[in-house]
């Protein structure tokens, strides 16, 4: 129900962005365009972990194996982990992807032969990415483990033809630094979202879009519609893997002002639509009610439970009914 987005302060308007071009440099477009290969394989793994003290590396290794990713797939790959770091959050660990989840992912990819692992983020609400790293506890992990950080907001742009076609933008500008990686791994938090309904692997990729070209908080994308932008970014970028941190999620007024909810789940998958549909079900809602998933269904992947090959724990064994704040149109629709 996109009509509700008219209430957003940057409501959709029909306007085109720049021509397809490399913005200020000479990097090969083919490098990024060919890096992506969004999988239509629908195997989705759910792992159980009651806290961040659990053996997350073992869980991730098992999960990857269950969805068919082993040494042969990872060996030699340069991997960019893209956590969800939206806000400073001293003492509020439910807002951002937990640093220990990122540490575990880095460890697993390196152990499987990845040639390099970096962490990248371009926070939408915050220009000061280093402050977000500091206050989320991520700095400590990155420094201790010598994991490089790429601030995706402050990057030269690389323009690609928008293959999604939902926003009306002919091109999308990505950070040129993405071309330095073979795999983009979206690592969202399991959260509600007061505009989009949920924020999971697909919405998390808003954070790769450089605010240099889109503004803070990604103004141009909000203006062209959040759902439409989610679809265009995913269709164009074709990311490789999703790892959802649902050990502690956020219910209520997500993605920032909600409250923690212990779920104890980690979701892995290569098809982001299937992953997000599974995450939505873990929050107790029907993916059909999430507009971007309904639109993506059958195009970028499946949302019907019977079309998703579920590995590990069952959805039913971990699903909860997340609280939704009343008076928010999207949440009212999800409950209806």
């Amino acid at each position: 129900m996109p009509a509700q987005l008219a209430a957003h302060p940057e409501a959709p308007l029909p306007k085109r962005f720049s021509r397809r071009q490399l913005l200020g440099g000479g990097l090969g477009l083919a490098a990024l365009a060919s890096a992506g290969c969004q999988s239509m394989a629908t195997s989705t793994f759910i792992g159980r972990a009651t806290s961040y003290d659990a053996d997350l590396t073992d869980l991730l290794r098992r999960g990857l194996s269950e969805i068919g990713i082993g040494k042969s797939a990872v060996s030699g790959k340069r991997v960019l982990l893209k956590p969800n770091l939206v806000e400073t959050s001293l003492g509020e660990a439910h807002i951002n992807t937990h640093p220990l989840m990122v540490r575990a992912a880095a460890e697993v990819f390196l152990s499987l032969g990845a040639s390099a692992v970096s962490v990248g983020e371009g926070p939408g609400h915050r220009r000061d990415s280093i402050l977000v790293l500091d206050e989320s506890g991520m700095s400590e992990v990155l420094e201790e483990d010598s994991i490089p950080f790429v601030d995706l907001n402050f990057q030269r742009g690389l323009s690609l033809v928008n293959t999604g076609g939902r926003t009306g933008l002919r091109d999308l500008v990505f950070p040129a630094a993405l071309a330095d990686f073979d795999w983009i791994v979206s690592m969202p938090k399991l959260k509600t979202h007061h505009w989009a309904g949920v924020t999971l692997a697909m919405k998390n990729l808003f954070g790769v879009m450089p605010s240099f070209y889109y503004g803070w908080p990604k103004n141009l994308l909000h203006q062209h519609g959040i759902e439409a932008s989610i679809l265009d970014i995913n269709a164009t970028l074709k990311p490789q893997l999703a790892i959802v941190d649902g050990i502690v999620g956020m219910e209520g007024d997500g993605p920032i002002a909600g409250t923690p909810r212990n779920v104890g789940a980690v979701i892995l998958g290569t098809n982001f639509v299937a992953v997000d549909a599974t995450g939505t079900r873990l929050m107790g809602y029907d993916p059909v009610k999430i507009d971007y998933l309904a639109d993506a269904n059958g195009w970028l992947g499946p949302i019907a439970a019977e079309e998703i090959e579920q590995r590990g724990e069952t959805v039913e064994s971990l699903a909860q009914r997340f609280e939704l704040v009343p008076g928010i149109p999207m949440f009212d629709y999800m409950r209806s």
């Binding site: 209430a7 957003h8 720049s18 000061d128 280093i130 402050l131 030269r156 503004g215 141009l220 007024d253």
Partner: protein
Amino acid sequence: MTTGALNQLLADLQARRVAGGVAGKPQESDPRADATAWTLLALRACRDVQPGSSERSALAVALRDDLSSMQYVDGRVPLSPNTSTAYWPTALACLAWNSSAAHREARDRAVGFLLGRAAGLSVPKSPYVGHDSTLVGWSWIQATHSWVEPTSMALVALALAGSSDHDRCQDAERLLLDRQLEAGGWNYGNTVTFGQQMRPAPDSTGAALTALAARRASRTSVDSSLDYLAEIYPRLRSPLSVGWSILGLAAWNRRPTDAEEKITGVLARQAVLGSFDSTLLALLGVAWSAASGMEASLR
């Protein structure tokens, strides 16, 4: 306190000179308008720092010309040549040209653009957001909403250019005061969403305080934000937040006594985090030298 760290910072910025301007990072070869303008602001604020002031003066002359070559006919200065809609560096360029009589025409065209075509989008009020979205300031990107930082930078630039009395500046001051959070401070520009107060951010707060000082706003209108910034400052370690916090507080005669020591510590983090972006280095250079705030240091 030694100025060794400041000299190194200036040397690092000088080393990022590339054909056509200043790059964002070492080893990059493409100039960026914002990096070039911020470097000029640092050179201006640190003009009396010895040794090397004469070399830096010569560099400043060349960089102002570089910045002129990035300017469009209508006065805007986009981030890079092919990104005409990302015109937010225009206010920075205006500031960078301000002290140069030879670049008065370029500055005036930038002022004309800021006061003319560069208007943030006025949006009908929404029951779901707290701020008055009909007020007009400046946006990051063409034809999008007005936000705190581009509005703040435009106000500082226009104050230094002598255009403070323009209606647009008065509207923008109203916008900034409207976007101030109830408990003090600013963020990127949302006060309340679906009934929830949003959180303040030190960098946005420092920028807004700098702009309102340039507007000679009343102290009582910003007291709560000064208190927020002074309270959070001791725990900050990141270049953007530390730089803008020092500038915001200094603009209201509350410069932290440990500013230089703090900046030295922040710069040392590059050993672990890697080289900071040129704009961050330059911001720290301005914060180091601007005892009474940004506007005073650039006059």
